[in-house]
């Protein structure tokens, strides 16, 4: 182990111990009381009351911007030192892109569409991977929202109790990307087969199967989004519950490593691979 790695490890352990001790001191409420507000979200309402189209979820917006900023900063730092003989950062970025491009190439033989599909799926992969990672294992500011009997929400910021809120832990984000992939795949279908061929595709193998085909197409974005949402939210709640029980002292690094790094990266990979599969199944020739 190099000297730099040793220093980083020591800093991590010190921060972790301090956070654990703080939480052991501060988290004195019984679990049922403290974990009551897990599923509540911080919602800001503009304009008319109870109008769903005037609502935003500030935590999702803030964290999305943070994720985008992280990706742009990394991309700029790679681009600044772009060389024929790559350094470590550039090699990492290149091997990541190459890995996904091989998958795209094997499922979309046509070069013209392969590049478009690659760009879309790589963007999704980067965004989801980074958001899962920051939501997975870094303790940060979280929002505790309690809803009173009359429906008013009291917002309270809590330090180092939960991890940062991952944007993918909000179904709105996932559903947006899933619907985006769905629309793009239908666009590819119309472009390659023509409107007539696209409509004919719903009547295969027999005209009797029309409703089944329509439901099958519409179920794709839903299952696509729900898979990611369930994994990230479920993992987050599980980690929070267990780490509350042990007051952040023993288990969380392993749980974070599993749910944040392993499961998070796999879900990002699955999301982008399924996006490739959905798009390539609609491209002909």
């Amino acid at each position: 182990m190099s000297k730099k790695a040793k220093i980083q490890l020591i800093i991590f352990l010190v921060i972790y111990t301090v956070v654990g001790l703080l939480n052991a001191k501060l988290m004195t409420a019984p679990p049922s009381e403290a974990l009551k507000n897990i599923a509540n979200r911080w919602i800001v309402q503009f304009g008319p009351k109870d109008a769903w189209y005037y609502r935003i979820n500030p935590m999702t917006v803030i964290m999305s911007v943070a994720v985008v900023a992280i990706i742009i900063a990394f991309a700029k730092s790679v681009h600044k030192e772009f060389k024929l003989i790559p350094n470590r950062k550039q090699a990492f970025a290149e091997s990541l892109m190459d890995f996904l491009y091989e998958i795209v190439e094997s499922s979309v033989p046509n070069e013209k569409y392969a590049r478009t599909v690659f760009k879309i799926s790589m963007t999704l992969f980067l965004y989801i991977a980074v958001s899962n990672l920051i939501g997975g294992f870094i303790p940060g500011v979280s929002v505790d929202v309690s809803i009173a009997e009359n429906g008013t929400r009291a917002v309270k910021f809590v330090l180092f109790n939960d991890t940062w809120f991952p944007p993918t832990g909000d179904l709105n984000t996932n559903l947006t990307y899933a619907v985006m992939v769905f629309i793009i795949s239908q666009y590819f279908a119309i472009k390659t087969k023509g409107v007539k061929g696209w409509l004919k595709g719903f009547l295969e193998p027999v005209a009797f199967m029309l409703p089944m085909n329509i439901v099958g197409e519409l179920a794709k974005p839903l299952s696509h989004a729900m898979r990611l949402f369930g994994n990230i939210t479920g993992g987050g709640i599980l980690v929070l519950v267990i780490s509350y029980l042990v007051k952040y002292m023993f288990l969380p690094p392993f749980l974070w490593a599993y749910f944040g790094i392993f499961s998070g990266l796999i879900q990002a990979f699955v999301f982008s691979t399924l996006a490739i599969a959905y798009m390539s199944s609609q491209i002909e020739g």
């Binding site: 729900m226 898979r227 994994n231 990979f269």
Partner: protein, 85 residues
């Protein structure tokens, strides 16, 4: 009057707990069987062609994640029962 209100609340809590437990427990059967089958066949494939290990592992993880979907649905439903109902 007060007793019946408390009883109603207790029955509701019991129903929530039982419902969430059943949703998660029964919902985990399908993914368990499915993922076991995927893993078994991936092992077979690797034993037959060890040079394709990397490709098979990637595909296996992808198939695992898809087989897991129904389990994740039941997890979401369990959370809905516990926190949103």
């Amino acid at each position: 009057m007060e007793f019946s209100a408390e009883l109603a609340k207790a029955i509701m809590v019991a129903g929530k707990a039982i419902g969430a437990g059943l949703a998660m427990g029964i919902g985990a059967i399908g993914p368990g069987v499915g993922e076991g089958s995927i893993g078994a066949h991936a092992m077979d494939a690797i034993a037959r062609q060890p040079e394709l290990t990397n490709v098979i592992t990637t595909r296996m993880i992808l198939a695992d994640a898809i087989a897991e979907t129904t389990g994740i649905y039941s997890l979401v439903i369990a959370f809905l029962i516990l926190f949103a109902l």
